[in-house]
């Protein structure tokens, strides 16, 4: 231990005149009053789950690469079993113009889309390839994992990712070995150019393979849960004032044939299923800033291999009005319908009304270099 400290002192001594890194800070505050009808969940006066803080430190490396250290925390649901605070992002990223390496805890590539919902997990069961190692007590264990991820970008828009994950295993919480691998292929228009793309803004395909212990199978591949995910964002009206897009995602879970009834969340994530989810969004801009946004969406999930017809349905509608820079006020209505086994697991049909105030902020201080997706770097030669 002494030796390690000594080395650390030596290194910090050598790097005395260091350059202050770029400091990125992102914050999202979501505060809602929830009114539930026909639900097992109680109403809430102030629900601030999904509120989060994200901090990133970036510097240029030698040989023109860049590195970023990211630390983020989130306030989970009260009954999530995660404590008061969940550290949802703790990772390092190394990148150059065409390569990105990521290691640490962050969002897994089990969802390729960001849907316009009040909270990230409002349509969780429809938009994520769910973690088959989780007992389902919280949603964070489906979204976040310890990842090892390599992405290569071709011609600024096509990316291929090979990734391995350690998803949280509720039965073996101290097992940090790789328990999932996957591959993603994505065509994505850079952020700065999305508003005026005709039709296709994003299209992606992702394959995930979870190394589950399937009784009776010794081969890793045969005993695993596999799913295929298709995702797209289409610009229906690419316009700087009246912008309309359509987001869609389909997940086919090639689960275990032998699961024909749902006794717990493990069965739910490991049985065969097909999920479809889509949203239409209208964004009104006024004076070059967001004015209001309205979106409607719906999802359908069928679990065909079960002995009883078991389907899930979701309808979601929301609207947000910008009160001032970074502050929005909004409402959301969500209707969920669970049939068959899913009703036993998740309860009956539920209506939920939410009135919310949302703060979202993201700023980079001490900027020193351009982003890969800056217009200058995209259109006028990339500067290392």
């Amino acid at each position: 231990m002494k030796k390690i400290i000594y080395i650390a002192i030596l290194i910090s001594g050598l790097a005395n005149a260091q350059i202050t890194p770029e400091f990125e800070i992102g914050a999202k505050g979501v505060f809602s009053g929830n009114l539930n009808f026909n639900s097992e969940e109680s109403n809430a006066v102030t629900d601030f789950s999904d509120t989060q803080l994200l901090m990133g430190l970036s510097q240029k490396l030698y040989n023109n690469w860049r590195a970023q250290f990211v630390l983020g925390l989130q306030f989970p649901d009260a009954n999530s079993n995660l404590g008061e605070v969940f550290y949802n992002n703790i990772f390092m990223k190394l990148e150059d113009q065409t390569n990105i390496f990521k290691v640490g805890r962050t969002l897994a590539q089990t969802n390729l889309n960001e849907f316009p919902t009040l909270r990230d997990d409002d349509a969780q069961q429809f938009v994520y390839a769910l973690n088959p190692f989780s007992d389902g007590v919280n949603t964070e264990r489906d979204q976040y994992a310890n990842v090892l991820d390599y992405t290569h970008i071709f011609k600024q828009r096509f990316s291929v990712s090979i990734h391995g994950e350690n998803f949280y295993d509720s039965l073996e919480p101290n097992d940090f070995r790789l328990n999932s691998m996957g591959l993603s292929l994505v065509y994505r228009v850079p952020e700065s150019q999305r508003w005026n793309r005709n039709i296709v803004q994003q299209i992606g395909l992702s394959y995930n393979n979870y190394f589950t212990d399937r009784p009776g199978y010794s081969n890793d591949f045969d005993s695993s849960v596999k799913n295929l995910l298709f995702s797209t964002i289409l610009n229906l009206k690419p316009d700087p004032i009246n912008f309309v897009d359509f987001k869609f995602q389909a997940i086919q879970n090639f689960g275990w044939d032998e699961i024909t009834e749902l006794n717990d969340y493990f069965d739910y994530t490991r049985t065969q299923s097909t999920s479809l989810f889509g949203t239409f969004r209208y964004l009104k801009q006024k004076l070059e800033r967001p004015h209001y946004q309205i979106s409607v969406g719906g999802g359908y999930k069928s679990l065909d291999n079960l002995s009883t017809d078991s389907n899930q349905l979701l309808f979601i509608a929301n609207g947000f009005y910008r009160m001032g820079q970074n502050f929005d006020i909004g409402f959301q209505y969500r209707y969920t319908e669970n049939d068959g086994f899913t009703q036993n697991l998740f309860g009956k049909n539920e209506h939920r009304l939410q009135l919310a105030i949302v703060y979202s902020f993201s700023q980079i201080f001490n900027k020193q270099f351009g982003d890969r997706e800056d217009l200058l770097n995209l259109e006028h030669n990339y500067i290392k």
Partner: protein
């Protein structure tokens, strides 16, 4: 290949691009120095008019080796090319905007007709993306002037959109008083390269949206924040328009903090040299196209202040330090009276830096061409007896000649000055 060979090869390959100190007295030094001086813009005659062509485009600029940034430049060079005309000439400049941003040209210090003055929404509408504008004026008064973009001036000027405009007088009183053959134009500027990058990116993004709306006929005063009168402005306020001094800024909220300081677009060690011979007068035209004051100091000499803002001074006077404030031009005459290599630099040494590292930036040298090469040798002329046994410490001679000599060589390379020092 040993270390010495490696260094030598490196020096040769670098010399092709720009010439560093090492052998300032070589012919090569003068040849390479031409690329660091302003480039004169050619013209063609159309009747009585001298016709020039200037364009603006996005440009990748390298003020010193190893550092590049995106910026905006006239004719792909910083500074833009020098326009050199005679007093009374009829000048026509065809200006082409190749960028996706708006621009104009202001002729700083020149008596142009007011509709040619280049102030957007006051004397003309901005020159829109891919548009042209023809500037016409008679070149007067004589002297050292400059031109610069007057749109988004805070960003566009420091980005690099400026160039010298010299109006010559065939009966120049300065030349009569101080006969000279050679003259140099030095255009000073300061740049916050981070600010430039952020502003350019956000401006380009905004302009893409605006151009789209313009084509569709849906662009209005509120979106542009340009109003015909106060009533229109106040009506817009009621409709939700927020001027940038209230909230929802569209531009960077921080003012630029310059981190690069350039002379003719270059920072030390890429800055130009001023060559002179003993007994020769040279004229230096100093232009400050940036937003910082530069306290320019010449070592080993006083110089004659001969023109202020282009106006010849009736009674020239001597100085060795001059504060070159933003927008200012001075002409000075240096008399070749003290043979050597002399630095000419900003005495506000915060500006002798490259991204905060000293030395760099606004530092260049006056070089006597007739300086004997022998005087560059450290071991012959150093005042430090460790390097030069003849400096007066006889009792250390034996050690210096053998051990210290080789140590110095290892520490400082070749036995001659000047060297490139980048981290003192």
């Amino acid at each position: 290949m040993d270390r010495r060979d490696f260094l030598a090869t490196g020096a040769v390959s670098t010399a092709g691009m720009l010439f560093f100190p090492g052998n300032l007295l070589a012919k090569e030094a003068k040849t390479n120095n031409k690329h660091k001086l302003v480039q004169t813009l050619p013209y063609k005659m159309d009747g009585e008019w001298k016709e020039f062509e200037l364009y603006i485009d996005v440009h990748t600029h390298e003020p010193a080796p190893g550092y590049k940034y995106h910026t905006l430049a006239f004719n792909d060079m910083i500074p833009g090319p020098e326009i050199r005309v005679n007093a009374g000439d009829k000048v026509r400049v065809k200006f082409i905007n190749k960028t996706d941003l708006n621009h104009t040209i202001h002729w700083h210090g020149v008596y142009v007709p007011w509709r040619m003055d280049g102030v957007p929404f006051v004397t003309q509408l901005p020159v829109m993306p891919k548009n042209e504008f023809i500037y016409e004026f008679v070149a007067e008064p004589e002297g050292t002037h400059f031109y610069h973009c007057h749109w988004g001036t805070l960003m566009h000027m420091q980005a690099g959109m400026f160039g010298s405009l010299i109006v010559e007088n065939p009966n120049d009183p300065i030349k009569k008083k101080f006969p000279y053959e050679r003259e140099y134009t030095l255009v000073y500027s300061s740049h916050d390269t981070n600010y430039i990058r952020e502003e350019m990116n956000s401006m380009l993004e905004r302009m893409k949206q605006r151009s789209y709306l313009m084509k569709e006929g849906r662009f209005n005063s509120e979106q542009w924040a340009v109003f015909d009168n106060k009533e229109q402005f106040t009506a817009s306020l009621e409709n939700g328009y927020q001027p940038p001094y209230v909230t929802n800024r569209r531009s960077n909220s921080d003012l630029p903090q310059a981190n690069w300081f350039t002379v003719n677009g270059k920072s030390y060690p890429s800055t130009p040299y001023l060559f002179i011979k003993s007994g020769e007068n040279i004229r230096i035209r100093l232009i400050n196209a940036g937003a910082e004051t530069h306290h320019l100091h010449l070592h080993g000499h006083d110089f004659w202040m001969v023109a202020d803002d282009g106006v010849p001074l009736e009674h020239p006077f001597k100085r060795n330090t001059v504060p070159l404030t933003p927008g200012k031009t001075y002409d000075i005459i240096v008399e070749g009276k003290n043979r050597g290599i002399w630095t000419f630099h900003d005495h506000d040494t915060r500006k002798v830096t490259n991204n905060g590292l000293y030395p760099g930036g606004n530092l260049l040298a006056l070089v006597y061409e007739d300086l004997p090469a022998d005087e560059l040798i450290i071991s012959k002329h150093s005042g430090n007896p460790m390097y030069n046994p003849n400096a007066g410490m006889g009792d250390m001679k034996g050690m210096e000649n053998k051990n210290m000599g080789s140590m110095n060589k290892m520490m400082f390379g070749e036995d001659k000055l000047p060297k490139i020092a980048l981290d003192e």
